[in-house]
Amino acid sequence: MSVLSTRRLRFLRKLLLGIAGLVAFLVAWQLTPTLGVVNSQYLPYVTDVFTRLFEEFRDVAFWRRLGLTMTSWAIGLTVATLAALVLGTIVGLVPWLRRATHTMVEFLRPIPSVALIPLAVLLYGLQMRAALVIIVYASFWQVFVQVIYGVADVDTVARDTARSFGLTRRERLSYLVLPTALPYLMTGLRLAAAVALILAITAEMVIGNPGLGRMIELSRSAGDATGVYAFVVVTGLLGLAVNIVFRFVERRTLGWHQSVRGEEIR
């Protein structure tokens, strides 16, 4: 038999095992409240959760709130990316700036942006604006750091070649720096997208601006366990979707580039 069938066999096996795992998990989930291991008030039946999920999918209000979450996600991500791109390029290209800002960056970066939530609430009240501050703060660092790496990664020989041929600064920027930095930017974008989603939902949960996160918190305080779990599943699916899309985009832009990116180990 040709190996084509072996490869297909392997794929099939992977698919079946994956589905089996999923099914086994759902069955275990269903059995846990059934057998009384945990009260169904705190861990509802899988069937109930999915029924509720499909109900929500038919509800316009659900989509509206989801839209709000994605709106703050998108706005926050865009603002953060643009700011990080501009600032990161400037800092990355000017060595003494890098050194000068190093301490501040290393101090501000590890601060969990959720620590700033009280401040944001003080400044902007319980509204989307407060959430946006948090989202932008967290996402900014992801892109900023990657852009700095990318800009610094410009091959010195290529740069010397460009200068000796008399390319203007703007030409160097667009033909040399930006293409080198592009894969790094894409990595940063993927990381920032995930972070932005997490914070958009978190902010809604704790600040209370309307959206998916607020739905989760309202369900919890109302004791609506089915709702909580249903919305958690939605966030998981959202997270998966964002991850898949951005990984795809990253891989496409990376196709021709063979640089080693700094996401892994620093």
Binding site: V3, L4, T6
Partner: protein, 270 residues
């Protein structure tokens, strides 16, 4: 018949792979024997399955058919009578261990006392000329030194057969000369039987007591040539001998024929 006993016997070895293009017969029919204490070199055109042969000898691969016998018993898997030195020393030595720890690692599961183990390790590291590097990490050393560490690891293991898979292919010419002399010296002092695979024809004639020439795929033993050069060999003088030139020309010739596929295959006995 020489008075040395037969150590390694290979009979009608055949290995077939499944690949994207269908079945690939890496080894067609290989048979040879090796006596204890011999240094046998194996040469062949690229892609003729030399590495596959080595892996079958070392028990890392199961042959499709045929027999590999060590000391009278069939080889079914890796066993303590054989030690391998791989070509890619950079990926065979463990970078998180020191040189000493690398050499010691295979000895840990052997039933030896601490003192015995330490002696073996120190001895091996000394034999390859690296006593000052015992505490370094492999990546701190040059390519040639790293390969010495791999050799030390293999001889510390005290195998009956040392199997070397193009060990000096990735090393520069000067270092290679030193390493070749090291192998001859180790073989001379310790009398370890050695199977040495290479694509370098000169090297095979310089090192070997016998040279096995492999054909191209499906591989079989095209010729088994005894090397009647004096046992004390030297990079300068030996290579200048007329006999050396004769032998190497002959081997070169055979390899060219093997590449062209014009040598006749023996009667197959599947």
């Amino acid at each position: 018949m020489p008075d040395r006993s037969t150590l390694l016997r290979v009979e009608h070895l055949r290995k077939v792979y499944e690949s994207a293009a269908g079945e690939v017969e890496a080894i067609g029919d290989i048979s040879f024997t090796m006596s204890a204490g011999e240094l046998v070199c194996i040469v062949g055109p690229s892609g003729c399955g030399k590495t596959t042969l080595l892996k079958c000898l070392a028990g890392l691969l199961r042959p499709t058919s045929g027999l590999v016998e060590m000391d009278g018993s069939p080889v079914t898997g890796p066993n303590p009578t054989m030690a391998v030195v791989f070509q890619e020393y950079g990926r065979s030595l463990y970078p998180w261990l020191t040189v000493r720890a690398n050499v010691e690692l295979p000895l840990r599961h052997k039933k030896l006392s601490r003192a015995e183990r330490d002696t073996l390790v120190a001895d091996a590291i000394e034999a390859v000329g690296l006593p000052h590097a015992a505490r370094s990490h492999p990546w701190e050393l040059s390519g040639g030194m790293q390969q010495r560490v791999a050799i030390a690891r293999a001889i510390a293991y005290q195998p009956e057969v040392l199997i070397m898979d193009e060990p000096f292919a990735a090393v520069d010419a000067q270092t290679r000369a030193d390493l070749e002399d090291l192998v001859r010296e180790l073989h001379g002092t310790r009398k370890i039987s050695t199977v040495f695979v290479t694509h370098d024809i000169d090297e095979s004639v310089y090192l070997g007591e016998r040279v096995l020439m492999l054909s191209s795929s499906p591989t079989w033993v095209q010729e088994d040539l005894p090397i009647d050069l004096p046992p004390e060999r030297d990079q300068l003088t030996t290579r200048a001998l007329p006999r050396f030139t004769e032998l190497r020309t002959h081997v070169y010739d055979q390899i060219q024929r093997a590449k062209r596929g014009s040598a006749a295959a023996p009667q197959s006995a599947h």
